[in-house]
């Protein structure tokens, strides 16, 4: 990856330098994701023809047949929102994992291991149980508060983020919070329990355009913030002293990136429930690909996350056809061995 691979694109007075290999990598990932989306659109209990999908996307003219209307209904009400949500949640979880790992300089930092996910989930569950009628838009807000609270708690208790202490405190907090969640679920009335349980297992079944909208806004804001702050984070990785002397405002960059990471996790948890391991393995998979800088890396990480979650979701709903496996479980079956391989390959560094 020498700098000779950088290509300058000029148009009038504007110019941008791009790294060819990285852009190609991102293109390949994008193509793969698009193929997966197509596959996810056509598979299911009702196989949908390609022409119906093209017509639904307004690429081909609509057909007047009844089958077509039926297919459009399936696509619009079930498959399209679900797939969009899977892609967005995967990207969000992967991004937050990448940011957490670079902030803590710890390859094993993951929102699900640091208590952030459990904190967000606990608050959302409490909200669903206490006020079931509250609008869906409040869930991410409350979840963020919970995630932020547990993240700050771990940071304060560990007095810093780059040590074993940080990870161990995060792990024990996540155990504590999940035990608290079990108590909460067992102690409350069973009326709303069904909603909570479906949501909790990490399921994308209940995806609606409303939740997609919510998450999309959040993701757009977060990715812009992360892409803007990425060069500073690159410099920071060179060491604290160098970063300060090069004029990086370490404190503010870290605060912004940390809170954005928590917002991403909380947003995804509040609409799709607990989906683990994506934040842990997607950044590591992205490291195997050629990435020139952390901007490219962020984009390819989020694409890999989207591919992972969408793949797991599609597998979960089509593998044992009438029975649907929750996405969280499929991800765990794929993700846990990846974590084990990771631990094996990094056995000398840990």
């Amino acid at each position: 990856m020498s700098s000779s691979a950088l290509v300058a694109l000029r148009s009038g007075q504007y110019s941008i330098r791009i790294h060819l290999t990285s852009v190609l990598t991102i293109g390949v990932l994008l193509l793969f994701l698009l193929g997966l989306i197509y596959f996810a659109l056509i598979t299911g209990s009702e196989t949908i023809a390609t022409s119906s999908i093209l017509a639904y996307l307004h690429i081909e003219p609509a057909q007047p047949s009844l089958a077509y209307q039926y297919h459009t209904l399936i696509l619009d009400a079930f498959r399209a929102p679900r797939i969009t949500l899977a892609v967005l949640c995967g990207a969000m979880l992967a991004c937050s994992g990448a940011v957490m790992q670079s902030l803590t300089r710890n390859g094993l930092a993951d929102p699900s291991l640091l208590g952030v996910r459990e904190g967000a989930a606990l608050c959302v569950v409490a909200l669903i149980l206490a006020a079931p009628g509250v609008a869906l838009a409040w869930r991410p807000v409350v979840g963020m508060l919970g995630g932020l609270a547990s993240g700050v708690f771990v940071l304060l208790l560990a007095r810093g983020s780059s040590s074993i202490r940080f990870v161990m405190i995060g792990i024990s907090l996540s155990w504590f919070l999940s035990a608290l969640m079990m108590v909460l679920l067992a102690a409350t009335d069973t009326k709303d329990l069904q909603t909570v349980l479906i949501w909790l297992a990490g399921n994308l079944q209940g995806a609606t355009w409303q939740s997609v909208q919510l998450v999309a806004i959040l993701f757009t804001i977060a990715i812009i913030a992360l892409l803007i702050s990425a060069p500073s984070a690159d410099i920071e990785a060179l060491g604290d002293a160098l970063a300060i002397s090069l004029g990086v405002r370490r404190k503010w960059v870290n605060i912004i990136r940390f809170s954005v990471a928590i917002f991403l996790v909380a947003g995804s948890v509040s609409v799709a429930g607990s989906i683990g391991f994506v934040g842990l393995i997607a950044p590591h998979l992205a490291r195997f690909l050629p990435n020139y800088s952390s901007r490219y890396q962020l984009i390819s990480t989020s694409l890999i996350g989207a591919i992972l979650v969408l793949g797991a979701d599609t597998l979960g709903r089509s593998a044992f056809a009438p029975v649907e496996l929750p996405t969280g479980i499929v991800i765990a079956v794929i993700g846990a061995p990846t974590l084990i391989i990771l631990l094996w390959t990094r056995r000398n560094q840990l």
């Binding site: 504590f176 035990a179 108590v183 102690a187 084990i340 056995r347 000398n348």
Partner: protein
């Protein structure tokens, strides 16, 4: 000479006092657990039910067929899990070890669920503790292999991470089987979240021989483990074969965990909490410290089970959730204190 004799007697005295105190606590908790609940029963009835059982008396039936099996299962599981945790802590020289954290519980549950879903042996109900022990041993050996690879050997953080990773894997496979196979889910639903309500006398009785085997094995290797606590070199010098003793100790831990999990389901943190309560038991492992830890574990699980029943009275909480609620802060406390 006289001084050392004196300290020895003081020590023995404090040993007896500790043991006596904790035993009295267990007996008291057991009596409380038997007598209070959704329906309180006078203490005279307990004696009557035990010695002159009358199957037509409602109180007698509640005591003998509902509460007694549950209490026995909790006593058995509490002491087994505590001893297993203690053995792991001595053998791995890591006080953060616990059967639940290192994957033994998850392995045992996966094995039980697998054999329930795909019955291979007709006598399955008789060997359930054995199946659970084999599962625990297999998953734990995987955890150990991965965790001890690398230049630095067995690091606490690596061990915990491997435990989490393998537990997550086994848990995900367990959930997949249960979602696909509803009959198994119905059979094991309460057992799987560590709920004592499903305990019956049969499961306790078939767990007993395996738990007994684990206990005897751990008592047999106690002197060598005690020598090993002085360091591997010293232990070799004293004539203990380190590898063999380690293997035996982990085998005993797997047997004990398997019989506990088979009786009450995967319950965590008992070994961690009960060994953390007593100072100095890691430096000099002995049969006495084993007994102390075992009885403490029984007391803790008994207290947790009572809290699970009575905290939100008509509703019952899973016992495993309550031990987690206490155990996670204890884990943190041990870790922070050791880092200092």
């Amino acid at each position: 000479m006289s001084l050392s004799a004196n300290t020895k007697t003081t020590q023995q005295c404090s040993h007896t006092r500790r043991l006596g105190f904790i035993t009295a606590l267990v007996i008291g908790l057991t009596a409380l657990h038997l007598l209070y609940g959704a329906r309180s029963i006078p203490i005279g009835t307990l004696a009557q039910a035990l010695f002159h059982y009358n199957p037509h008396d409602f109180d007698h039936r509640v005591l003998i067929s509902l509460r007694l099996p549950r209490v026995l299962a909790m006593l058995l599981a509490g002491s087994c899990l505590a001893i297993a945790g203690y053995l792991l802590q001595i053998t791995l020289r890591n006080r953060l070890s616990d059967p639940h954290l290192l994957g033994l519980n998850a392995g045992a549950s996966l094995a039980v669920v697998l054999v329930t879903a795909f019955p291979i042996a007709p006598l399955f109900s008789m060997v359930r503790p054995l199946v659970a022990s084999v599962g625990a041993a297999l998953l734990f050996s995987l955890v150990l292999v991965i965790a001890s690879a690398g230049k630095k050997g067995l690091q606490p953080l690596k061990l915990i991470f491997c435990g989490i990773a393998f537990s997550a894997l086994a848990g995900a496979i367990t959930s997949t089987i249960l979602i696909l196979d509803e009959d198994t889910l119905d059979q094991l639903r309460f057992w799987l979240i560590g709920d004592g309500a499903g305990a019956n006398l049969h499961t306790v009785l078939i767990s007993l021989p395996f738990a007994g085997a684990g206990l005897v094995l751990s008592l047999l290797i106690m002197p060598q483990l005690s020598a090993m606590s002085l360091g591997d070199a010293m232990a070799k010098g004293l004539g203990a074969s380190v590898q063999k003793i380690r293997f035996m100790s982990l085998l005993a831990a797997a047997l004990l965990t398997g019989s506990a999990v088979s009786a009450v389901g995967p319950i965590g943190f008992i070994g961690l909490i009960s060994a953390a309560l007593w100072r100095g038991i890691h430096s000099r492992p002995s049969a006495y410290s084993l007994a102390l830890v075992a009885i403490t574990g029984a007391a803790i699980l008994m207290a947790a089970d009572m809290a699970a029943i009575s905290l939100f009275a008509p509703k019952e909480l899973p016992t495993g959730a309550l031990t987690g609620l206490v155990g996670a802060p204890v884990f943190l406390w041990i870790f922070v204190r050791r880092m200092r």
